[in-house]
């Protein structure tokens, strides 16, 4: 698929695309293992491996060791690559989001259940009749609200 060097570079890039929020324990995309999702994503992009390799090549052409750059330098370099190779970079971003948010444990960090939503779903209580009566009272007070034809 890709060399060890490319893999290390890819993980570093993914960590920049979706960085961690260490305060609340949300991992970065590279650390979460999204690199492993990318080659499997053929249902969502025509050539995911080709797009990833193209982005990595562009990065290597600009820097012999991206991983050693300072944070702002990494961002600046990635912005350049995004500008120069918008299609492949856009594919990488899209697939990174897919790989990251398809992980159930990530969903739960954003208040969304980790479970498959069928059959369990979510418990949302129905508003009481009294509450609805009160909430709709101003609307009903206006009377009929359509043109009689």
């Amino acid at each position: 698929m890709w060399t060890e060097r490319e893999n290390d570079l890819l993980i570093a890039v993914l960590d920049e695309l979706i960085p961690a929020n260490k305060k609340v324990g949300v991992p970065a995309a590279g650390a979460l293992g999204v690199a492993g999702f990318l080659p499997t994503a053929t249902s969502y992009a025509p050539d995911p491996v080709g797009s990833v390799k193209a982005v990595l090549k562009s990065i290597i052409d600009k820097s012999s060791d991206f991983t050693m750059l300072e944070g702002v330098e990494k961002i600046a370099l990635l912005r350049d690559v995004e500008t120069e190779n918008a299609v492949d970079f856009g594919t990488l971003v899209q697939l990174t989001y897919m790989g990251y948010y398809s992980r159930p444990e990530v969903r739960s960090m954003f208040g969304v259940g980790a479970h498959a939503v069928q059959p369990k779903g979510y418990d949302v209580p129905r508003e009481s009749d009294e509450f609805m009566e009160s909430l709709t009272a101003p609307v009903r007070a206006r009377g009929k609200f359509f043109r009689v034809v």
Binding site: P19, F110, A116, Y122, R126
Partner: protein, 539 residues
């Protein structure tokens, strides 16, 4: 290969095809339905999978060009700002529709006489009201009676939960003094007719594995198949055939699941393929008698395509809105700006629909029906951590006016897997719709702030949602004048006396509400008219 002649041949097992089959059951005629898609098996609903969101971008995308399944036909929308979306299976697009169920309003049927735009329908609200009610009972509709924006009616089931998001927005509307009401939905708030109530999964677009949503695969089709209606799946109709001496439809040529071409004869042919599929089929059914396509002597087949152009506005609130919990597109609906107001700079009006928010992946990728991912890097963290959980939004749903240049034609190059020409969409947003959306966007901002939003987010451009072409209307419209319409006031072709159309293509105007309840009410009305006119049906 030939098959025995049937009395009634219905093309399409979606919303309208199922409804008219149900209406005609009592006639005891032999009814056959041909559906290009398969049954969706329980195991195939992605909402049962841990990574369910991914299917939204693959096999359960609303976009047939993304799904690319054998039963799908490609659609060329290069000349359109809106992509038509659909689903091809038993149940049609009711498999992945969102179940929002508002009725059209009395004035929607009289736009020409009331407001001087478009055309009047040859039917009216009062004629359809009994069929709306009949369909609500069969489908299982939840809602709150007494909505002052409509003539009196009460849905059979109590409303679904509005949730925190809906309650918050409702209070904002009350502060503004504007109309709002809990949405009517074809989603069960209680167990009903052997079906399980909604579990608030929030993924209505991925099909409802529990059957709580009123897809016809769960409502009409079990009844129909038990009653002996024959349903042939994976059977795609290529053309409707015509007796060149009488001008009557004789049946269809279709591609079966065995890969062979079949002929099916019928006494009565009913087309139920919706606003893109129906004109496609008619335009592909050319003969000496109908060189420009079947039932197209007026030249109007495919013209006057209407969608509901949409734009969205979101408010960022101080507390999590839990927008992923509950039916996806249905909480409350405001029709404050629905009826025509001559003081505005556009004709007709729009609705403000409160959907709920979506799941994290879909939000990160730009939102439902939009391909515009949020930024990467530090901004990504900021948006997902501090904006996404706190969102409540409103969708502006505009009434599209019929314009002849918006149309469905046959693509000269693109075809489906059986070699049948694909539809080509030519559609541009009218100035009236653009002004309407702008007005709606401004009102949405106001009400979101009144509801307590600390910040309001808009797209910041004039583009409408790309995959917003759920509602496909007007391309074979009904009317009394054969020069300006395709079918008469009860769905019968002006040109072919035993050909009926019952889907959204026969709409004369679009209203500003989701059309499925009206499509099915109209289909039931046409079924009733067929029964009432049975002795002189082909005169």
């Amino acid at each position: 290969m030939k098959n025995e002649t049937v009395d009634v041949l219905i093309i399409g097992a979606g919303a309208s095809g199922a409804a008219i089959a149900w209406s005609l059951l009592e006639t005891r005629m032999r009814i056959l339905c041909l559906e290009q898609g398969p049954h969706v098996a329980d195991k195939d609903y992605p909402s049962r999978d841990d990574d369910y969101e991914l299917s939204r971008y693959g096999k359960f995308s609303c976009d047939p060009n993304v799904r690319g399944l054998k039963q799908d036909y490609p659609i060329n929308a290069d000349d359109s700002c809106i992509m038509p979306v659909n689903f091809n299976a038993v149940g049609g697009s009711t498999i992945n529709f969102l179940g929002h169920w508002p009725r059209m309003k009395p004035s929607d049927f009289r736009t020409k006489s009331l407001d001087g735009v478009a055309e009047d329908w040859p039917v009216n609200y009062a004629m359809l009201a009994p069929f709306y009610a009949m369909n609500d009972e069969t489908t299982g509709v939840s809602g709150l009676g007494g909505n002052p924006a409509y003539p009196d009616y009460t849905p059979p089931l109590p409303p679904i939960p509005m949730g925190k998001l809906g309650q918050t927005l409702a209070k904002g509307f009350n502060k503004m003094g504007w109309h709002w009401w809990p949405s009517d939905v074809s989603i069960l708030s209680q167990d009903y007719d052997g079906r399980q109530k909604c579990v608030n999964a929030g993924t209505c677009d991925l099909g409802c594995a529990a059957g709580a949503k009123g897809g016809t695969n769960f409502t009409y089709w079990p009844i129909l198949e038990n009653a002996g209606v024959e349903l042939r799946t994976e059977s795609r109709v290529r053309e409707i055939t015509v007796d060149q001496s009488t001008g009557f439809a004789t049946g269809v040529i279709y591609h079966g699941p065995d890969g062979q071409v079949h002929e099916q004869k019928a006494e009565l042919v009913i087309v139920a393929c919706n606003g893109v599929g129906t004109p496609r089929l008619l335009l592909n059914s050319k003969s000496k008698m109908f060189p420009d396509g079947l039932a197209n002597r007026s030249g109007m087949v495919g013209k006057n395509l209407m969608f509901h152009p949409l734009t969205g506005v979101s408010g960022v609130f101080n507390e999590p809105m839990k927008g992923h919990e509950g039916p996806m597109a249905c909480s409350i609906l405001s029709q404050e700006f629905y009826e025509n107001d001559p003081s505005r700079d556009f004709m007709r009006g729009y609705g403000l629909h409160s959907g709920r928010s979506t799941t994290p992946m879909t939000y990160a990728l730009g939102g439902y029906g939009v391909d515009n991912p949020i930024p990467w890097g530090a901004q990504h963290r900021e948006v997902m951590d501090n904006v996404y959980p706190y969102l409540a939004g409103l969708t502006v749903v505009a009434e599209d006016l019929p314009e002849e240049h918006n149309r469905v034609t046959l693509d000269p190059d693109l075809a489906d897997s059986d070699g049948i020409p694909a539809p080509k969409i030519t559609y541009r947003l009218g100035d009236n719709s653009r002004k309407m959306l702008k007005h709606g966007e401004e009102r949405a901002k106001e009400v979101l702030m009144a509801a307590g939003a600390k910040k309001v987010l808009t797209k910041g451009d004039d583009d409408v949602w790309w995959r917003a072409g759920w509602h496909q209307m007007g391309t074979c419209r009904m009317g009394n004048d054969p020069k300006k319409s395709i079918v008469n006031s009860w769905g019968r072709s002006h040109d072919v006396k035993n050909l009926f159309i019952v889907d959204g293509s026969i709409f004369v105007t679009a209203g500003a509400v989701n059309p499925t309840s009206t499509i099915q009410a109209l289909s039931l009305y046409i079924g009733d008219s067929i029964k009432n006119n049975i002795e002189t049906l082909f005169d």
